[in-house]
């Protein structure tokens, strides 16, 4: 079957930068899926976009759907033919309905008997027909974060559509979308090359775009921008302050990748580094440059044109940057007139949550909760810095700088605290309090910072959960999932052995009567919420989900301890002896499932195998206790693995369900005690065993 390429371009008014990448991904994958469903999947998919266009190029698309046969079930053979073997009215009627001759009917045999069937050959449609049907539908149904209508009510779509290229093997795929008819032409840059032009196919499209300076491929555009910016930075004797998100944004707001170098008055370099970087990034989408860790008084950003022949683009950008930095400097100097401590009154006016009080209330709670945490961890020397940091934690919310740049919350407070000469652990704790905000972020750098960050988030989680506002689905307006994940990460990475249940219970008490749910209800809903983050984060570290479940099932009062147990399980779980014990554990759990607690009597141990098991289990218990006391869960699990043979032997030679009631109860008591012993660090029954893994082991043990 010959194949062809399909070129699709939608040219429209400027699509918001944040929506471009998700849209092109969805467009390409839906096209692929639809063509796959028609058995005409492309061999290769290329995509591209600029603010004004979405482009997909599919190569190696078959020109027709393959033909296929459709089988229709008819009447039973007995009803279709009379005794003479001549077709009945039922058969002729069926053949007529299917559009075939009665002599072409076939027979099939199934579990109900023999039936006549009509095999109907369906000719595959030309792919161009498939495309003209599915493409407009896919385009219309793309998901956008926000849509609009235009003109007399066209839409909804992200922005008004101006032209459509849809070419399959050089022929226009005919369709209409929002009153625009598909064709073979498009236009270039709205100012520099606005005239329409026609294209013949994918490579012609690329060539004609590139003649107009337009790079449609996103990655190529990003690369070109980065090269030009690195070159410019080199020339200025510095290097870019890295920012992958900013680079992606810059590549999304231009079609022609042009770079602008600007300079600003070096006196602005007295502003903190973070302020300069943020102001340039947020207001001007500009990169800053540094040399030996010091910022240079210049910036780099993009223009949607190749050059700046009159210097006006540079002059304009510099003018705006100068005004923005003047603003920032004004805010900074105003802020410094009032010390953080003197800003306390401002927190009364700042609402944290209408039902949970002001930031002054929150500060009081964080301070007390931090103190409790210090005591729980046995921290003494850190206590003073923690208390001071907690009290100053939220005060930067009253500064002009944070009102202007919310992304600098915490950071600004840290900077002002540092400039006031407060101790390092204090300003760092304030500075780092919102870390980690994303998966790539580190946790707060100091123990004091880690502790206050936890107190702050647990307070928020408990408060919002306490109002019954638990996140559901994608709705999480308070960012509680991120908050819980940050808490879990800080505990794990900071190696902090804190019982989250106890901290949360304390946080509930500190809210007094503000909450609507009882402490028990809050803890019951919060615990699985934290556990989900634990599962996710440990899963990212490469642990199997059942290892995590097994460890979680016996408790999570300290997350570093939990991770040690998961890690130990991970090391031993491939060993066949260990897996044999897992199977035995499942069997034991089954046997004792319904049984009430029994008391073991040594004098009732009768058989040799059960006496052996008893002795071995006592030894195992003391070995496990010793290993756990040393924090060595792995050797604990290894001791359990060594237990496999004696368990095997017991199940082969001893019948637990003996007729004698006393013997039976005593054996159950023995298994109950073994169950307790081997379930201390992990509930082994959670481990999923692939029986193939056990093949190496010579055993007749079976799974009940």
């Amino acid at each position: 079957m010959p194949d062809s390429e399909f070129l699709l371009e939608v040219r429209c008014e400027e699509i918001p930068a944040r929506m471009l990448e998700p849209a092109i991904r969805q467009l390409a994958s839906r096209l692929f899926e639809q063509l796959l469903a028609s058995n005409v999947a492309p061999g290769e998919v290329q995509t591209g976009f600029t603010p004004r266009r979405l482009m997909v190029l599919l190569k190696g698309v078959p020109e027709r759907e393959p033909d296929r046969a459709e089988v229709k079930m008819g009447p039973p053979v007995a009803a279709a033919f009379d005794q003479a073997g001549k077709p009945t009215a039922a058969a002729t009627g069926f053949a007529k309905k299917c559009g075939i001759r009665v002599e072409d009917l076939e027979r099939v045999e199934n579990e109900k008997g023999e039936y006549v069937v009509a095999e109907h050959k369906i000719e595959g449609r030309p792919t161009i027909d498939v495309l003209s049907q599915v493409v407009p539908q896919i385009l219309r149904d793309l998901d956008w974060a926000k849509t609009m209508r235009w003109g007399s009510g066209d839409g909804p779509w992200v922005r008004p559509v101006h032209s459509l290229i849809a070419l399959f093997g050089g022929n226009v795929v005919p369709f209409e979308l929002f009153g625009v008819t598909s064709g073979d032409s498009t236009a270039g840059h709205p100012v520099l090359s606005p005239q329409d032009f026609a294209v013949k196919g994918g490579s012609d499209y690329r060539r004609k775009m590139s003649r107009r300076g337009i790079e449609v491929r996103f990655e190529a555009r990003k690369k070109k921008l980065l090269e030009q910016m690195n070159e410019a930075a080199d020339g200025l004797g510095g290097e870019l302050v890295e920012d992958a998100a900013l680079l992606a944004k810059l590549a999304s707001i231009c079609g022609i990748p042009g770079v602008i170098v600007g300079r600003f008055d070096p006196t602005f370099l007295t502003l903190p580094r973070e302020v300069l970087i943020t102001s340039l990034r947020d207001h001007q989408s500009a990169f800053t440059l540094e040399s030996d860790g010091k910022l240079l008084s210049c910036f780099l950003t993009v223009m949607d044109r190749p050059d700046d022949p009159a210097g006006s683009v540079q002059a304009g950008n510099e003018w705006v940057v100068e005004a923005r930095l003047a603003d920032a400097k004004f805010f900074y100097e105003e802020d410094k007139k009032t010390s953080l401590a003197d800003r306390r009154a401002g927190l009364d006016q700042l609402v944290f949550h209408a039902r949970l009080g002001s930031y002054a209330d929150k500060t009081a709670r964080i301070t007390q909760l931090s103190e409790v945490l210090c005591q729980a961890l046995g921290w003494e020397k850190e206590q003073e810095a923690v208390a001071q940091a907690a009290e100053l934690l939220k005060l930067d919310l009253t500064t002009e700088m944070v009102k202007e740049f919310t992304s600098l919350q915490g950071v600004m407070g840290g900077i002002y605290a540092r400039e006031e000469g407060l101790p390092e652990p204090v300003w760092q704790a304030i500075y780092d309090q919102y870390l980690p905000a994303s998966t790539d972020d580190p946790i707060p750098r100091s123990p004091e910072g880690q502790l206050t960050a936890i107190a702050d988030r647990v307070d928020t989680l408990v408060g919002i959960f306490g109002l019954g506002l638990i996140p559901t689905g994608s709705r999480d307006p308070f960012g509680l999932r991120r908050a819980a994940q940050a808490v879990v990460r800080i505990l794990l990475e900071g190696d902090l052995s804190i019982d989250l249940d106890l901290v949360a219970a304390q946080a509930v008490l500190l809210y007094g009567d503000r909450l609507e749910k009882s402490g028990e209800e809050i803890l019951t809903s919060l615990r699985p919420f934290f556990h989900d983050r634990v599962r996710y984060l440990l899963g990212l570290e490469g642990y199997d989900y059942d290892s995590i479940e097994a460890a979680l099932a016996v408790g999570s009062s300290s997350l570093p301890d939990l991770r040690s147990r998961v890690d130990a399980l991970h090391s031993v779980r491939q060993e066949s002896d260990f897996l044999a014990v897992v199977l035995a554990a499942k069997r034991i759990a089954n046997i004792i499932k319904e049984a009430p607690e029994q008391t073991l009597r040594e004098d009732l141990l009768k058989e040799e195998a059960e006496k052996n098991l008893y002795r071995a289990s006592r030894q195992l218990r003391s070995e496990i206790e010793a290993a756990e006391a040393a924090g060595d869960y792995e050797s604990g699990f290894r001791h359990i693995a060594e237990f496999a043979d004696v368990l095997d032997d017991f199940f082969v030679k001893v019948l637990v369900m003996d007729e004698n009631r006393d013997l039976r109860f005593n054996r159950i008591a023995l298994l109950q005690s073994i169950h307790r012993t081997i379930s201390r660090a992990a509930r082994l029954t959670e481990i999923v065993v692939d029986k193939a893994e056990l093949r190496g082991r010579n055993t007749d043990m079976q799974v009940d």
């Binding site: 930068a17 003109g151 602008i260 223009m303 044109r305 022949p309 683009v313 304009g316 005004a323």
Partner: protein, 297 residues
Amino acid sequence: MQSFQELILRLSEFWAAQGCVLQQPYDLEVGAGTMHPDTFLRSLGPEPWNVAYVQPSRRPADARYGENPFRLGKHYQFQVILKPAPKEVQRLYIDSLEALGIDLEVHDLRFEEDNWEAPTLGAWGVGWQVMLDGMEITQFTYFQQAGGMDLAPISAELTYGLERITMFLGLSRSVYDIDWVPGGVDYGQVRHQDELEFSKYYFELADVDFLRQQFDGFERESQSCLEQGVVLPAYEFALKCSHAFNVLDSRGAVSVTERVELIKRVRNLAVACAEAFVESREQLGFPLLEAGAKRHA
């Protein structure tokens, strides 16, 4: 250097040539050109409407005693409404910049997402801030809802920030330095005393009790006008409420919860006026529909 008044003249000329009604500012205090009845009310309903005008816009909270070179308690917007938005509205807008003498062959023009929302009007739209060499010079919006009602046809609203554009074209360091008259009276000479005195009024002198009484009174008046079936006066009193609210707000007299409440009261008036306006036009038989048809015939 391009002067402030030349900018107004050229934009007026350009948009008049496109068939816009060259309207004058609304003679009340408003926060933006959008609140002019020729935008807010005329964007409702099916009738076509093209209009352009300058609107002095008051933002009491932005007042800076004439000291900040960029922020003003009152600035001038050049407002254009094209209803329905023609397919080539972006092209028309680009042409208008060229009419201002901006040579786009040497500038960088970009449209960055910026959606507009006016809670007091129950209105929102989708569009961009238009960036010229990294500076925002225009707000470009396709209205989607006004007075809580879905709009059809859709209006395009172009709002040029006149001070900003003039400053930018001359790369002036202060708004007060730009020429109002070419080579003559400058912006500071025309406006500085106004900024200074109104800052003093907004931040220090405005009588809070008096303004609250005004707010209540204007609200009652608006409601009673609506009851009597006169929608334009009703809308005027809604605008007066809105301004009273803005001054109270700049005076620091509005708490967080009261803020929500007052905004809701203004919004209720605006929504009621919007509905009444559409009804009143309907009773008149949407006369501009016919006029449009006549003209095209």
